[in-house]
Amino acid sequence: MYWIDIVQDLKDESIFRMAAEAVFQKRAAAYSQDWPGTHCLPVGPGALFHGMYRIIQSPTVVALLFNSDVGAGDDYRQIFLDGRELPKDPNPTWRGYSVGRWEGGTLVVETAGFNDGGWLDWAGHPHSEHLRVTEKFRRVDFGHMDFQMTFDDPEMLEKPLTISVPVNYAADAEMLEWVCENERDAPHLPPASQELKLSPETLAKYAGTYEFTGQTPPKKPWLATLTLAAADGRLYLGALPLTPKSETTFDSGFGTLQFSLDSTGLVKALTVPDGLKYIPKP
């Protein structure tokens, strides 16, 4: 879910400088309607957190063919391994300019030269043209790769933000074509004016920590516990603002969150997309 919210692990926005946080709050309040992906533009440097990609390797160039940019559609990155340096004053681009090197068995890729049009995540965390991304790919065995991504952007971040995710080899599968057919794929989010308003008391009732309950544990470890918070008349899942659809259902942008109440009106359970069920932590 890093592509939704890059700081989901931190559950805290303090890593962002105040100016960046102001941009984020503005985007979040607008339900991410200006997310570049809505306009068929590249979603930003977090594209590899979502969807599949194919690596094709040669001694001098590694190509990443990714099916993961839900905005611009299928596209690629070229990572130059011929020893060249990052350009000093690159022309800013959506995907930046990437050079790579081998450190033992780890491919280390440095990328700079981003424009500031991309977002770090769907929720709306911004980055500047000074963003530098360092990615480390380490294939531990045939089917598994450790992937680490560090975002360094002194203009927006107090300190570098590092995220590690395991990546699994997709055998016997292939990427189907994804072409963004302009505005047709825009998320159907309601304009803010039509939004249902819930009282602060109702929202406060939902705030708290929820623990996973059920037979099949969530595939992603960070989904074991969810934190919901109410602030400024809005309910948040981590840093992700939720849109009320009814007294008990909320839209998260990636699916519906459903609260169930007991006969006294207290929250009994929370169901999230994929059917995962959570109970409030006492």
Binding site: H39, C40, I56, A72, N182
Partner: protein, 338 residues
Amino acid sequence: MSLSAQWLNIKTPGIPRTPDGKPDLTAPTPRTPDDKPDLSGMWRPAQNMYWVDINARDFFDESAFIPAAETVFQKHVGDYGRDAPWIHCLPFGPGAMFQSPYRIMQSPSIIAVLQGQGGFRQLFMDGRELPKDPNPTWLGYSVGRWEGDTLVVETAGFNDQSWLDLMGHPHSENLRVTERFRRVDFGHMDFQIAFDDPQTLTKPLIISLPMNYQADTEMLEYVCENERDSPHLAGANQDVKFSPATLEKYAGTYNYAGDTPLQPPMRATITVTSSGGRLYFGPFPLNPQSEIKFDSILGELTFSMDSAGAVNGLNFTVSPDPCGRGDDPKPLMFVRKP
């Protein structure tokens, strides 16, 4: 109109060089460890107009297309190509290989084509067959095999949304494309593409084009930022109105009078016709900009008149190549056949 990426100058390692440091483009074709030709690298199609008009070799003769396809084509032409998918940031279509530079990344089981106009193709080399009933897609589904030293790629499963070219020749979902890549030496590749579509073509359309290795340069990012890249065919100048009688005075046959050789699809003789209140240059409609100046998808025509006001010739300036190839185009002079 900038449809493809810009260029940087980079001294690429691993390229055979002559003693003076220039890339040795006639060095032998590199081979992979499993002794196949290695097609990897950046390639650029030789200058051509096929991406503008797939029928460019014979562009006054549309008999390769069945009448229903020709009707669709004429409608696209009449609209100055305004509904071309690529104008709406959709893929260029099966003619993309004529249009932009591309990078080939080769592995034994898969070959990737990274397209200069964005997006990629995957050519599966693992012996699989084309799917029987594929879900139609913009780029189709491609499988490849080696026939000696020639890579043969078969593609099917296209949707019918894309156009074969900028002008607007259509194709159906039954289109099958066969491409042949033969790298003859380090710097040169013979490319042949055959379009077979019984629903739109009277017979398969086969085009051969040399591809040139691009040393010491690279493809820069191309992201289509929606409508911003639309061609500047703004439509007719509303102040310029012609009566059919006026248009008739431009109609006629014009002969090339210049001394530089003509590039296809330009021909030594061109025909200007008047039909339905509009002038056509071959099949291309002309968009009036002034009394003497007309715009077309291929370039600009400026008619000249004698002292009596009779049209006696025209200058044709080909649109600048979007790939930035070559010098700025010089006007080509044609004189009217009496």
